[in-house]
């Protein structure tokens, strides 16, 4: 993975010192909350319901075991012994004191981490595919380009006060695990005409109040032109994005208003002019320097399906179930991608204790070249596990509450913190997710239902990605009481779709029954081999809606 050089270190150290100074000025009463708020927001510090919240960037979701241990240490020393992994592949701490945040940032900097641009109206942490570098059919490791974009966007002087926050996602594979079409800019690596990596650039996707699917604006943009092209998009947005209305300020609204054609025309025009002004140069040597950090690790020569694996399957059905559900194919023979679910029934989606973080770090050292990935679906991944070691790995995971075999199943939900923590939330999300998981706890039942992604948000900002849930749930507030609106048929993959709302919202008492009703309809309607989403796309809303509201 990428390692800081002297320049990266210098910038983060400077920034830590700068923010520490800002905190000191605030605590000394030299600046008011109004003045401090934008400063703390530029460094990932929010004020939530119970306390401050610190959001730490995990660039493109990749962590070393050393970094994971530091995250565990911070949780234990400055927080309440746990952290929350988010849909932006970041980690949030829910209870830090403001006075401690400079010390936390020092600790983070010591392991090449920071909280830069994890909030505010700037280019946020770049997200990517959790299978980067190990997926069989990817064009190139997308983290190379994510890192280049991370550096280019860090403290960008022109784009630190955009109309609104701005999110990038990058994928290197045709299967989209990074939800690129619901990002402000989504980038897919493709093969250019010369056989080199080029970039398809989707612009104007997003969720929130007005969900939109991104439009393909730049086709097969070359490596030399990538940063200039991105800068052209950003400049068009910075100059023309609306600033008079919070709900209309994202780039998706600009693209929607002027249309895809006009957006492309403006970007191309700006891009052409920028090339004359002086493009953003990306030296070939710099690309090669960063590529070298993402070179494949020293894989051993191993065979697929080793004898010890098959033996363990026979002896331990629970292990076989976990492998079937949570382990994915690796591009190198004899290796596997192991997904660690952070969704045990009864737990809080995405939460991990300090002990669990340390355990995962230890397992990464033992079995996966000391590297860990965070997924946008709030799970963790060990991406390079020898198949022969899977059983030993699983035993350790299982003993530490990390072996839940539910990847992609109905209990593997995306859930935002909701009204239990968040200052913006209208309703609680976590208890709803927990109640649904409890109802579908039986693993045979979950397996029978098959792939079904439930995504739950506690407000219209859609941090829980409800618009792209196969079943999406949105918490709303009606005169101080929580209600839950349901949508069906959303998806965040390469065939992205936005869910359709079923009808009137449900109370907390009725929402689990509603989900069960939807699942029953699917089970009775599905044809051979159909997933929930396939059935929904074939038969549409009507049968679901009729059964769902039949009793009303």
């Amino acid at each position: 993975m990428y390692r800081y050089d002297e320049f990266d270190h210098a910038l983060v150290q400077d920034r830590v010192k700068q923010f520490s100074g800002q905190v000191q000025r605030r605590l000394a009463g030299e600046i008011t909350e109004d003045e401090f708020k934008p400063l703390r927001l530029m460094n990932g510090v929010y004020l939530q319901l119970h306390a401050y919240m610190l959001r730490v960037a995990v660039p493109y979701g990749t962590l070393s075991s050393r970094q994971m241990r530091m995250l565990a240490h911070i949780a234990r020393k400055y927080d309440k012994g746990y952290g929350h992994f988010t849909t932006r592949q970041n980690i949030q701490y829910n209870w830090p004191a403001l006075k401690d945040i400079p010390a936390i940032l020092e600790d983070l900097a010591s392991v090449e981490m920071h909280a830069l641009q994890t909030s505010g109206n700037c280019i946020r942490n770049v997200t990517s595919d959790q299978y980067a570098g190990v997926a069989a059919n990817e064009v190139e490791d997308p983290r190379i380009w994510s890192e280049i974009i991370r550096q280019w966007s860090t403290l960008h002087p022109e784009f630190s006060f955009l109309p609104r926050k701005f999110k990038f996602a990058v994928t290197g594979a045709p299967e989209d695990r990074a939800a690129i079409r619901v990002h402000d800019i989504g980038i897919e690596l493709v093969k250019g005409k010369d056989g080199r990596t080029a970039f398809d650039i989707y612009v104007g996707g997003g969720q929130g109040r007005t969900p939109m699917i991104g439009k393909l604006i730049g086709k097969a943009i070359s490596q030399e032109n990538l940063l200039t092209y991105l800068e052209a998009i950003m400049r068009v947005y910075n100059m023309h994005g609306r600033r008079d209305h919070l709900f209309k300020s994202r780039i998706k609204i600009l693209v929607h208003t002027i249309g895809e054609e006009e957006m492309r025309r403006q970007v191309e025009e700006e891009f052409a002019a920028m090339q004359k002004d002086g493009p953003v140069e990306l030296p070939k040597a710099e690309i090669e320097r960063i590529q070298a950090y993402f070179a494949p690790p020293a894989y051993e020569t191993l065979e697929n399906d080793p004898a010890e694996l098959n033996e363990a399957f026979e002896k331990t059905p629970a292990f076989a179930r976990w492998v079937k559900q949570n382990v994915a194919a690796h591009k190198v023979p004899g290796y596997a991608i192991a997904n660690i679910s952070l969704k045990p029934v009864g737990g809080v989606a995405g939460d991990a204790s300090s002990e669990q973080m340390e355990k995962v770090a230890e397992l990464a050292d033992a079995y996966s070249f000391s590297e860990i990935r965070v997924t946008h679906e709030q799970n963790l991944v060990l991406a390079d596990v020898p198949q022969k070691d899977l059983f030993a790995l699983w035993q350790e995971l299982d003993a530490n509450g990390l072996g839940t075999p539910n990847l992609g199943l109905i209990t593997d939900q995306i859930v935002c913190p909701g009204l239990d923590y968040c200052n913006l939330a209208n309703a609680r999300s976590i208890p709803i997710g927990q109640a649904i998981a409890k109802k579908f706890e039986d693993l045979d039942r979950q397996n029978d239902i098959g792939e079904l992604k439930i995504k739950i948000s506690g407000c219209i900002n859609a941090c829980g990605h409800h618009h792209v849930g196969h079943i999406g749930i949105l918490g709303v507030d009606k005169k101080g009481t929580e209600f839950y609106q349901v949508s069906l048929g959303g998806s965040a993959d390469e065939k992205t779709s936005l869910g359709d709302i079923t009808g009137p919202a449900f109370t907390e008492d009725k929402i689990v029954g509603a989900v069960e009703n939807i699942v029953e309809t699917y089970l009775s309607e599905r044809q051979d081999g159909e997933r929930f989403l396939d059935t929904y796309r074939r038969i549409g809303m009507k049968p679901f809606k009729e059964k769902l509201y039949a009793a009303h």
Partner: protein, 109 residues
Amino acid sequence: MAQHSNKMAQVQAVTANRLIDGVVVYLTAKGAWSEKLADAAIAEGKEAAEALLAKANPALEQQEIVEPYLFEIAEEDGTLVPASVRERIRMAGPTVRLDLGKQAEGKTA
């Protein structure tokens, strides 16, 4: 944050977060700040509520607290509790982690 206040509310108290650590605090009758809602001064009627909110100003100016606002109080089984789910959660802690927050520190009620 004014959007959490209810303009029609009759019985209200004032809450804020403490600057140094963000902890939820309530304004007492003496103009001090307590971590417990039980210590909060209660205002009945609009004028009393506005007068109470004004009492938060010295602490705001001295940078002791952040973002004070009024919230509605209801009576339930003879005790005063926040009317909204939001304020009940702020008073107690996350409903999904009963081991955390004021509910775990004996600071509720």
